[in-house]
């Protein structure tokens, strides 16, 4: 199959959905001629014009409100917030308004929008441009939260998100934009709330999100050389979560390591750990559930400190090895 980058996969999804459905439009800062801060919307301005690829002033709350209002009245907007850190500015409209409108209206409204935003560290952008705030939104009923880890998933999940009738927070990762992978040319959807086993193995389950899926797969390949077979599960949609594949995997391996970039305290890993502990997989556990996550600190600027602030392949290898060898 043809290989394209994560960023090209996202652009293709946007283009195909805009061709298919004229209610779909893009709105955000520098999404037009600039093509988005990370180049995801490059070329779409030329193709669809300024009425469907709308540049806004620096007004994150305004963007969130614009997609909320437009979705409420018949459009299917795709907003972009340049860095996930600035979702904090957009969050009033997302959290208090968009997430609750359908419910408050007694089900008499739909809000079919997607808010795309890149999260994560690793680019030297320091504390205010590197956060992973997915759990802020996971905590809010009414929002769906999607976090693709591959080009294939990026395209299929973005199309599914655009076609979904709920507000979807679609979290990309800066370090994934240039990653290549096989992606079909035709439009396709990956249903939201479907977790996927990205690699199978019987010694240990690793549940990872976003860029940590890639790092976990690299770790799994290294561990395989040592005879440790790791199963890697990617939730892909954090909310609503498809828990089944995770629980099934843990029942098979008896050991689970959860890996994410966001700070450990209050992170998604706590939710996953609790869910596994509450499930039938509990009786199959041969070791404590282990989390490997970002340190509880802002992302530092210095390259070395930044590197050590979040899990890297070698950390995953070491933790997984300890767990598989019964040393935890």
């Amino acid at each position: 199959m043809r290989e394209i980058t994560y960023s090209e996969a996202l652009r293709e999804a946007l283009r195909q959905e805009m061709q298919r459905d004229e209610r779909v439009f893009i709105i955000g800062e520098d999404v037009g001629i600039y093509g988005g801060a990370f180049g995801v919307t490059r070329g779409l301005f030329k193709e669809f014009g300024e009425e469907r690829v709308i540049d806004t002033p620096i007004s994150e709350l305004g963007i969130a409100g614009a997609i909320t209002g437009a979705a409420l009245t018949g459009m299917r907007p795709v907003g972009e917030i340049m860095f996930m850190d600035f979702m904090t500015l957009a969050s009033e409209q997302l959290v208090n308004q968009a997430a609750k409108i359908r419910f408050m209206f007694g089900g008499n409204a739909t809000l079919p929008f997607v808010m795309r935003t890149p999260a994560g560290s690793g680019t030297g952008a320091a504390a205010q441009h590197s956060q992973s705030l997915e759990n802020w939104f996971v905590h809010i009923p009414g929002l769906k939260v999607v976090m693709p880890s591959t080009p294939y998933d990026a395209k299929g999940l973005l199309i599914a998100s655009i076609r979904d009738d709920n507000p979807v927070i679609f979290i990309e990762h800066k370090l994934l934009y240039k990653i290549k992978g096989p992606v079909p040319e035709e439009p396709y959807t990956i249903p939201l709330s479907t977790s996927e086993v990205k690699r199978s193995g019987q010694d240990l389950t690793v549940v990872a999100t976003s860029v940590m899926v890639k790092r976990s797969l690299e770790a799994a390949a290294q561990l395989a050389a040592e005879g440790i077979e790791v199963e890697v599960v990617d939730p892909r949609t954090l909310k609503p979560l498809d828990a089944e594949p995770i629980i099934r995997s843990v029942m098979k391996t008896g050991r689970v390591l959860i890996v994410h970039e966001a700070c450990k305290t209050g992170g998604y890993g706590g939710e996953l750990a609790a869910l596994i502990a509450e499930s039938e997989a509990f009786d199959y556990l041969e070791a404590p559930i282990v989390r490997l996550a970002g340190r509880d600190m802002p992302i530092p600027y210095n390259r070395t400190l930044e590197y050590h602030a979040v899990p890297q392949v070698e950390n995953i290898v070491a933790k997984a090895r300890e767990l598989a060898q019964g040393r935890i």
């Binding site: 600035f86 600027y301 400190l305």
Partner: protein
Amino acid sequence: MNIEKKIELLRQMYTIRAFEEQAEQLYALGKIHGTMHLSIGMEGSAVGAIAALRPDDLILSTHRGHGHCIAKGADLQRMAAEFMGKATGYCRGRGGSMHIADPEGGNLGANGVVGGGIPIAVGVGLSIKMQKRDQVILCFFGDGAANLGPFHEGLNMAAIWKLPVIYVCENNQYAMSCSTRRAFAIPRISDRAAAYGMPGVTVDGNDVLAVYEAVSAAVKRARTGEGPSLVENFTYRWRGHSKSDANVYRTREEIESWKKKCPIQRFRALLIKEGALTEERAKQIEQQSYTAIESAVTFAEASPEPNLESIEEGVYA
């Protein structure tokens, strides 16, 4: 303004230019991690505004803050070291270009969030007032920041409480690719001041003395308890928004036309014409500025990296 002070302003402008040219080179050599925002072409705004302050006054800066930092009197070595993420830097390598801060020297920090300093200025102004201190706070922000909610909340609060705040909008006509013509339905950002009940003026930001005069008037108002002002410095950035900008949203002619309006050349020519400087003396000042930056960078390059064991230090007091 006396001659010494004028010469000092010229020196500051050259120092900023030298720092940023050097920064660009370090980046090209792959010695800088991440991105940076250069204010080349905008030196008159930073220098003219801060010249109106006393050394004990405070500033809040922006992502494009190297100029503010230098004009506020930063130690060039510590600044360069922070830029390179070194342990000897102002923020021990934690902050980098976008977060250089020197609270002791009155620089309350560059800011990675557009408009992020505007509400903080309210708190600083309030604190100065509550502690009956004789200081003012000068808050820089870009044209783009004036379209964020925090701008409106901040200016209104500063105005109703008559806080000693000077809001300085550095209007370089673009917020990344978004020109002010597309982002505003009004011609001047300073017109918004009227909506909050404070004076607003627009000045030629490439005329360092005009900026100095306008900000001085605002400082006087702030210091005498009359409240905040909004000063808009109309200027232009020569370089792209950041290192990843291909400049597709503006023409080469436009950029070249603004290079002809260089605030440094303009001030230098004025000083020579006034007889305050000779060509030789001007060259010497320029040269000294570049040398000072070179030695700061040498210090930074020779400085140690932060110690990995200390990684979590500084999160809590």
